[in-house]
Structure formats: C-alpha cells, structure tokens
C-alpha cells in the first residue's frame, strides 16, 4: 500500500529533483544487476540516456531563469545609478570668489537707504570725482549741466606733504539710495590718466543722491596764522540714473565698496561680454574642491532667495567679489554650450552621507555575492 504523504511530497518536489532521484534508482538497479552478473539491457541503457538528456534540458531551463533575474537586477541597479548621476538637485548653496572688471547688482527690497563706499563710517578721500546723469546739482554753479567734476585741491605751496595732500582731497560723504523701490547698481573699474578708480551706476525709478565735500581755498583776508585757510563746500547730486566715477586719493589702499549687501540678481558682464578675470566657485553639495573660473567665462547664477555680497573690493584696479548664495537654482559656466555646475543627486548623496553611501554599496555587493553562492549550492 502506497503512503499518501509520500505521494504528496513527491508532487511538491521540483521536476529536476524527481529526475535525479529516478536516475539514481536506475543506476543502482544497473549496478545491482552487474554485480549479479546480469548484463544491462539496451532498454535500461536507453532509458538512462533519455533521463540524462532530459535532466540536461531541465537544468538549462532553470539556469535561464536565474540569469534573467540577475540581468533584471543589474538593469534596475544600473538605471538607478544613471538616474542619480543625471538628475540634478533643485537648489544648492554656492560661494563665489570672483575677480572681475564689472559687476551688476539688483538690490533686494529690504535694504539700508545709505551706501557708503569704504568701511562703515569712513569718509572716502578722492583725488577726483566725475558725476553724470544728475537731475539736480546743489549748488547749481558746480554742475551747469547734468555732469560735473570735482578735483582734489592742489596746495600752492611747494612743501606739501602726502598728509597735507590728502587733507585737500574731495570727500565722498554719502550715497543715499531709495529704500522703497527697485534699484540696480553697476560697479566697474573707471579709467583716468595713470590711475584707476571705481565707477558706480545707480539706476532706479526713484532718485539716488551722492553727497560730496569739495575743499575750497578761502579769501586772502583770511591769511593770518589763526585763520581758516580751507573749508569743505558740500556738493549734492541727485538723479534716477546717477553715474559716479571715483578715483581714491590713495590708489594703493584697498577700497571696500560694499559689505554684507543682499541682492536678488548678480551679473558679471560688460557690454554683453563676460567681465570675469578669474576666480573660484565653491559648490557646497558638489564636493570640496572649487570650480575654477577662467577669464571670459560667462557665469550665470540665479537664486530662489536673496544672495549676500559679503564683500566687494577694489584693489589695484581690479574688483573682487565674495558672494554667498544659499539657494542657487541655476549655475552655468561657459559661452555657447554652458556647463551645468549644479550637482547631481549622486554627488549630493556622496557629499551629504559619504560613509553611509560607500557602506551601503559594499553591503549590497556582499549581499549579491552571498545570494549567488547560496543559489548555486542549493542545486
């Protein structure tokens, strides 16, 4: 009488295993027959050969299924990796150190109404100041038209020391900008005979005001020892498109143009061309090393929030801008086919969790190898 449980377990077995068991039984029967001196019949040999062929066929079918799973797994892994390497993060933090000849800034609405080139509270001493685009000049005698020029007073005495010379310099006391309307300020390098300075162009729907102090000599009647020989005559220029060309009295000294100013847009270009001389772009999610900026590289930077001009300085006829932008959405470098500097998702993951990324990849590889080994041994 056959055991029903035995039959059930046979049905649950895989065909390959049943075949192996059948072949083993046949081989044992043949061996027993040979031991008893009975030669194997042709039918037994044919049967064993057919079983062997059938096992080979079934075994090949089983290997094909496993390979498909392996290929599928590799494809999925590959696609995920390609996706991570192609897809870019929506925004990233960027620090810029740029040497340039001109930069155009659009100021945010929330800003101070006063901009003073130079350190806070310092009055800038100028060898020369040229003003154009002024709608109103006070006193009017200084600027009959919309343009005028103020120059450092030259002392008539031969024995003028450097300190005395600076005393007679033109003072830039204040540049007041409208605090409640959009304003764009272009900062560039101004050129004059044997000197370089700063050009500031303030454009907006409301007027900006520049206040200067021009040193003037006083009349001969004031020539006595105790009398005041010089005085500072205030000059005020107001205009919607005010252009100031400022040449510092001491060209060797570094001049801080702006510090900690929030801007909504920044462009490094002059007459449609890039004004960049060099520098570095540090992309916070893209690795530690900065991306070098080459001369004439066109840099496009857009941000979802305000950017902070940490410092804009004029040093030896060259502008240097240090900018922090915490939410940059577009960062491109190049002319015709610009290079996208926004980091990929893979770079972002590698930047944020480098140890975890490498540990996960190692664990996945080890798991894959262990699974294959277990798969093969189970046969």
């Amino acid at each position: 009488m056959s055991n029903p449980n035995q039959g059930k377990s046979d049905r649950q077995k895989m065909p390959l295993e049943l075949l192996s068991e059948e072949m083993a039984r046949k081989r044992t029967a043949l061996a027993d027959a040979l031991r008893e001196g009975v030669p194997p019949s042709a039918e037994d040999l044919d049967s064993l050969e057919r079983l062997s062929k059938l096992k080979t066929i079934l075994s090949n079918n089983d290997n094909g299924g496993r390979e498909k799973i392996e290929i599928g797994f590799l494809c999925v892994t590959g696609l995920i990796l390609i996706g991570l390497m192609l897809a870019r993060v929506p925004s990233t933090a960027v620090d810029l150190d740029v040497r340039t000849t001109r930069v155009r800034l659009t100021l945010t609405d929330q800003r101070s109404a006063t901009v003073i080139p130079g350190e806070l509270g310092e009055i800038l001493l100028l060898k020369q100041a040229r003003v154009s685009g002024a709608d109103e000049v006070l006193p009017p005698i200084v600027g009959e038209s919309s343009s005028f020029e103020l120059k450092q007073l030259v002392s008539p005495t031969e024995t003028t020391t450097h300190r005395d010379s600076e005393d007679l310099a033109v003072r830039l006391q204040e540049v007041a900008i409208p605090s409640d309307s959009p304003l764009t300020i272009a900062v560039g390098v101004a050129y004059a005979a044997e000197s370089r300075g700063l050009v500031l162009e303030a454009s907006g729907s409301k007027p900006s005001t520049a206040r200067f102090g021009e040193v003037i000599p006083l009349g001969k009647e004031a020539d006595s020892a105790r009398a005041v020989r010089y005085a500072i005559s205030p000059v005020r220029a107001t205009g919607n498109n005010l252009v100031l060309e400022l040449f510092p009295a001491n060209a060797e000294r570094q001049l801080t143009v702006f510090r900690d100013m929030h801007v909504s847009e920044i462009r490094f270009e002059d007459s449609g061309h890039s004004s960049i001389l060099g520098g570095l772009a540090f992309i916070k999610s893209g690795g530690e090393a900065g991306v070098p900026l080459q001369p004439s590289d066109r840099l496009t930077i857009r941000s979802a929030g305000p950017m902070l001009v940490r410092e804009l300085t004029l040093t030896k006829g060259e502008l240097k801008a240090t900018l922090s932008a915490p939410r940059v959405t577009t960062l491109q470098l190049g002319e015709d086919s610009p290079r996208n500097l926004m980091p990929t998702l893979f770079e972002w993951i590698r930047f944020r969790w480098p140890n975890q990324l490498y540990a996960t990849l190692s664990a996945l590889a080890a798991l894959w190898l262990a699974t294959r080994r277990w798969w093969e041994s189970s046969k």
Binding site: I123, E174, I216, L218, G219, A227, Y230, A231
Partner: protein, 257 residues
C-alpha cells in the same frame, strides 16, 4: 463665517476711511503722520485754530525711529535768559523778513513728551499756550525752524528764517546740530548766495545741547549784509571731513534795507 468676515471687512473699511478723513483734515504743511499712530497720546497732534483765525497743527507726536544725517535742526535768534511759555496766554513767534511769502513755523520738542507745532503765517505767529505750557514750556528744549521757499537764479531754495519767542530782534543766531554719532565740528562755512561774494569760514565752538545727541553754537551775523547765506558746519580739512547738510539762511537786519 462668511457673514462675520464681510462685517469685519466693512468695519475695518469704515475705520480706515474715518482715519483717512481725520488725517486729511490737517493742512498740507502739517506733519503727515496717520492718526492711527497717535493713538494713546494724551494730546495728539491735531488741527487747531489760532486766535487770528488761521489753521495750524499742534499736539504730541511719537518719537521718530531713524538715523538721520548730521543736520541743523533749529535756528533761533539768540535770547538771553530762560524763556518759558506761561499757561493760558497768547504766545508770539516773530522773525525778521521782508518777503510777502508765508513762513512755515516748525517747532519740535528735543525731549519727551514730543510736542510739535506747525503753522504757516506772515510776519509773526500768535497762538494760545494751553498745550505748549503743559507739555514743553521751556523754549530752550524746543527745536524751531522758520522755512519759506524762494527762487534764486532759477533754483528754488528752502530758506531758513531765524525765529524768536516774543518781540524784539537779535542778529546773533543760535544753531542746534543733531547727530547720532559723535562729532567734532569746528568751522562754519558761510557762502553768500545773495549778494554773491567770497565765502567765509568762521571758527565755532559747540556746547552740549538739550539732549545727548544735540550740540549748540551761536554765530553773530551783525556785520554781514542782509541776504541769503549757505551755512555748513564742518570738521577741519585735517580731520575726516564730516559736514552738516547745508542750510540756506535768510539774514536780514531789521530796520535796514
């Protein structure tokens, strides 16, 4: 819910309209501070009528929050001794000017309570002292400016006419400069606009004013011809070069042409 929101919007609109009307009630030369900002003050700045029937504004304002540039905030004729406004009287502000144009009289208290007065009159301004005697009776604690517009050489200037409390006249003018930062002004540059002559620099010494951010000095103008002078207080050229915003001073010797 919708009904409540609609009623709220209507109520706010009515309130805003009422406030707007109240602010518009004041003459154009008065301070344009919205009435909503004057709530809670015991005698808020408001429209009044002077004994001569002219409308002016007087009352308490809130202290402005600002960092203004160094500027001259008060120009008065020099008066010896303390000058107080007694209660229940009619006070008089006078000035020396021959123009038919009215002068904008602007009084602002240096220290709390922030009393303010704006009027537009010719020759002099008389008003009842009920409020000023209660809130800021000391003339030395009040910044006073008399301003009128004048066209000189095709350019419109705001001329400052030195004011005086009561009758009389003095050719010494007392200036108060206000600055939030320490200043070391040592010179007054006086540039004549009318008649156009050589500029002159006068050495000045500033004393502490009524508050810690004010400084006061007096300049005698007796030897100067009647006219308009651009006056700027400044540091010497050997210093940093700070200057005040220039004022255009109308100087006239009363009784002289």
């Amino acid at each position: 819910m919708t009904r409540f929101a609609t009623q709220t919007v209507i109520f706010v609109s009515i309130c805003c309209s009422a406030l707007g009307v109240a602010a518009q009630d004041r003459p154009a030369f008065c301070e344009p501070t919205p009435d909503a900002l004057l709530g809670g003050l015991q005698a808020p700045y408001a429209r009044r009528v002077a004994p001569d029937g002219n409308v002016y504004c007087e009352g308490l304002l809130r202290r402005p929050i600002a960092l203004p540039p160094i500027s001259v905030v008060s120009v008065k004729q020099d008066q010896a001794g303390n000058s107080l406004f007694p209660p229940d009287k009619v006070a008089s502000l006078t000035w020396c000017d021959d123009s038919p144009e009215p002068v904008h009289v602007q009084l602002r208290s240096f220290k709390p309570p922030m009393f303010a007065l704006d009027a537009m009159n010719r020759v002099k301004f008389d008003w009842r002292t009920d409020l000023i005697a209660k809130w800021q009776p000391d003339w030395s604690n009040i910044a006073a400016l008399g301003i009128r517009e004048a066209a000189i050489g095709g350019q419109t200037y705001k001329l400052v006419v030195p004011l005086r409390n009561g009758a009389g006249y003095s050719t010494s003018y007392s200036f108060v400069v206000q600055s939030k930062t320490p200043i070391h002004l040592s010179t007054a540059l006086i540039e004549p606009l009318q008649p156009s002559t050589q500029p002159e620099a006068v050495k000045v010494t500033f004393a502490s004013g009524p508050t810690k951010d004010t400084w006061t000095t007096t300049i005698p103008f007796a030897r100067m011809k009647s006219g308009v002078y651009r006056v700027t207080f400044e540091e010497g050229v050997e210093q940093a070069g700070n200057t005040t915003e220039p004022i255009y001073l109308r100087h006239k010797v009363c009784g002289a042409p």
